[in-house]
């Protein structure tokens, strides 16, 4: 039987099923390291500001292949929340070791294989003890500040029984960085009756290839909320997180994709309804402009009866050269599961535009109002995070028609 390492090696050239195939050998692999940061340099701050993050509130920062401890991580200790660079956690915490690479197979594709073999286990490890409801969002930032490099991150989050946490991760590059690859491995565990909301904000650049790989396990009565926003040009993003739901567990998976440039955005999700009474909702909004190409894939698989799932994919084409493909899949393997999907792609409605213009909005203002409204979804995330996302979506709406 092959070892994990041998299996990873065997997958080193294995393309992902979706998205453009990237030749990773073209990019530089930097030496990973972990250090204490009293303050962040301006390029990292520049990147963080693009996703609305402020330096003082960050619990974990990764700049390229450097993982930085921050004061906020220590501040979270008062809530008994542990935030460590994954590399540290794997050394010091047997629990972390028992969780790493358990949900995600390193041999899934070349990106997971590279991360396993060369990633250096940077990223964050977050543990929320049983019954703790963390009152403040846990902010983390992953920034790429140099050209032609691969950034790896391996994030492990465990929200223990009855606990609740709100995690916000901003992934960004400062203005001026042109190319590179980001490979993010995320393994999230939501224990019984626990709740995790995960808001991910992406702001990349035209030459960046982004390959997040995420698997989430939600135990009985648990809830996982994912709210993903990407709004910048990018060379390509391909991601397909999978969420496994136990008895009476729930998932809400929302994606807001504002595509631009000539980027390929292949963004999906899958929820596996394993336990009776489990449910999932997958919502996406796509606003496509320029020559961007967007695939939204959403999949629901019901393995038990008395499960429910719904997919809603809506797209708005703002350019004659952009394209949106919506690909929903619903699979039921048990009678009694109720799964549904709806998808629609269109243009800004003339009647709505005309109406707002009659109220005194210029055509551009009216379009921005409509695009902003189109991206409005009622994601069950805390108000403070919603405000931050709203700020970004306001900018997106303005830029989308500008």
């Amino acid at each position: 039987m092959l070892s994990t390492r041998e299996r990873a090696l065997s997958a080193i050239n294995k393309p992902a099923p979706y998205g453009p195939d990237i030749d990773l050998s073209k990019y530089r692999l930097d030496e990973p390291g972990v250090e204490e940061a009293s303050e962040l340099d301006s390029t990292v701050l520049n990147a963080a500001s693009r996703v609305g993050l402020e330096s003082t509130g960050l619990a974990y920062v990764q700049s390229n292949e450097r993982a930085l401890y921050t004061a906020m991580a220590k501040a979270l200790e008062k809530y008994s929340v542990l935030v460590l660079p994954t590399r540290e956690a794997l050394t010091r915490k047997p629990h972390a070791r028992s969780l790493a690479w358990k949900l995600l197979d390193p041999a899934s594709d070349k990106y997971t294989a590279y991360a396993y073999l060369y990633g250096g286990e940077l990223g964050y490890f977050i543990y929320v003890p049983p019954g703790i409801r963390v009152p403040i969002p846990i902010y983390t930032c992953l920034a790429i500040t140099t050209n032609n490099t691969i950034q790896f991150t391996h994030n492990i989050v465990y929200v223990d029984e009855g606990a609740e946490a709100h995690l916000v991760t901003g992934c960004a590059i400062p203005h001026g960085v042109k190319d590179g690859v980001h490979i993010g491995i995320s393994e999230f565990y939501v224990a019984r009756n626990a709740r995790l909301t995960f808001t991910m904000l992406h702001a990349w650049a035209e030459g960046l290839h982004v390959r997040p790989r995420t698997v989430v396990s939600v135990e009985e009565g648990g809830e996982y909320v994912s709210y993903y926003v990407t709004y910048s040009p990018v060379a390509s993003i391909q991601t397909y997180p999978v969420v496994y739901l136990g008895r009476n567990a729930r998932a809400y998976l929302a994606s807001i994709i504002a595509s631009s440039g000539r980027g390929v955005y292949d963004i999906g999700s899958k929820a596996v309804l394993e336990g009776p009474g489990s449910s999932a909702e997958s919502i996406s909004r796509v606003v496509a402009r320029d020559e961007s190409l967007v695939y939204t894939r959403a999949e629901l698989e019901a393995l038990e009866s008395d499960t429910r799932g719904h997919i809603e994919c809506l797209g708005l084409l703002l350019s004659p050269s952009a394209a949106i493909s919506s690909i929903p899949i619903i699979t039921s393997r048990k009678q009694g599961a109720i799964l549904s999907h709806e998808a629609a792609i269109g243009l800004i409605a003339d009647r709505e535009l005309d109406y707002l213009m009659s109220r005194g909005f210029t055509e551009e203002e009216a379009k921005a109002v409509l695009v902003r409204g189109f991206m409005n979804i009622d994601a069950p995330i805390p108000t403070s995070i919603k405000k931050q996302v709203d700020y970004i979506l306001d900018l997106v709406a303005k830029h989308a028609v500008g």
């Binding site: 009659s358 005194g360 203002e365 109002v369 902003r372």
Partner: protein, 242 residues
């Protein structure tokens, strides 16, 4: 100088003439009622005055305070002081009434929007998507609220009394009285005429039939005839001279 003057106005929708050679003149503070059967072109006429793109002026001109606005885009007309309460505003998912109202309040410098929202009973749906799932009455009140936010010089109300309950008609009538008292010119399109009974003063009634203003007269003369005989027969009676 009249606030609004239509001079031989013709309006086309999808290259079909819906309104033909319409002329009227309205002064500040006047209330004019436009009545007519279904499909006579009432809403199209208001759309053209507002500058909506689906109602193309294909003849004649529109003057507002002496300024020719025939080719002025709708948002400029709104800034000049023209407002329209649409008969069937579109449902706009995701765009909250609160967001539109607050953007408009900034544009038009409205300082007492909260009170206005309260007085027009629209507060409960401020956080809802614009017109999505609104009842007839909610829709009409919201339209009036947005018109009032614009603090217009000319307010055009397209069938504000259709599909609403008696209490709502009272509210709408109060709004019209309030607009008139502050010097706003009002054009009121009504199909049933229900609202006319609640108004203390109407200056003129225009009867629009088959796209033409077939008769213009005082409400004391026109309304009883229209209510008794209907539009076409009433027009014959009016033409004979009652």
């Amino acid at each position: 100088m009249p606030l609004l003057e239509l001079i031989g106005l013709s309006v086309c929708v999808d290259n079909k003439r819906i309104v033909e050679d319409a002329s009227l003149s309205l002064n500040s503070g006047e209330v004019h009622v436009i009545m007519g059967p279904n499909g006579s072109g009432k809403s199209t006429l208001l759309s053209a005055i507002m500058g909506l793109r689906n109602a193309r002026v294909c003849g004649g001109s529109i003057l507002f305070n002496g300024l020719d606005i025939t080719n002025t885009p709708s948002y400029e007309r709104a800034k000049l002081g023209i407002a329209l309460a649409h008969q069937s505003p579109p449902e706009i998912k995701g765009v909250r009434l609160r967001d539109v109202a607050s953007a408009m309040a900034k544009k038009y410098g409205c300082s007492d929007c909260t009170l206005l929202a309260k007085n027009l009973f629209v507060e409960p749906f401020m956080n809802r998507s614009l017109f999505v799932g609104f009842s007839g009455g909610e829709r009409k009140k919201t339209e009036l609220f947005l018109v009032m936010l614009q603090d217009p010089k000319l307010a055009m109300l397209d069938e504000p009394d259709s599909g609403v309950d008696v209490e709502s008609i009272e509210v709408i009538a109060r709004v019209i009285e309030s607009l008139r008292s502050r010097g706003t010119g009002v054009i009121l399109v009504t199909h049933t005429g229900a609202i006319t009974e609640k108004l203390s003063r109407i200056d003129k009634v225009h009867v629009l039939i088959d796209g033409r203003i077939a008769y213009t007269g005082s409400p004391d003369v026109v309304l009883p005839v229209v209510f008794k005989f209907g539009f076409r027969k009433g027009l014959e009676v009016l033409s004979r001279g009652v």
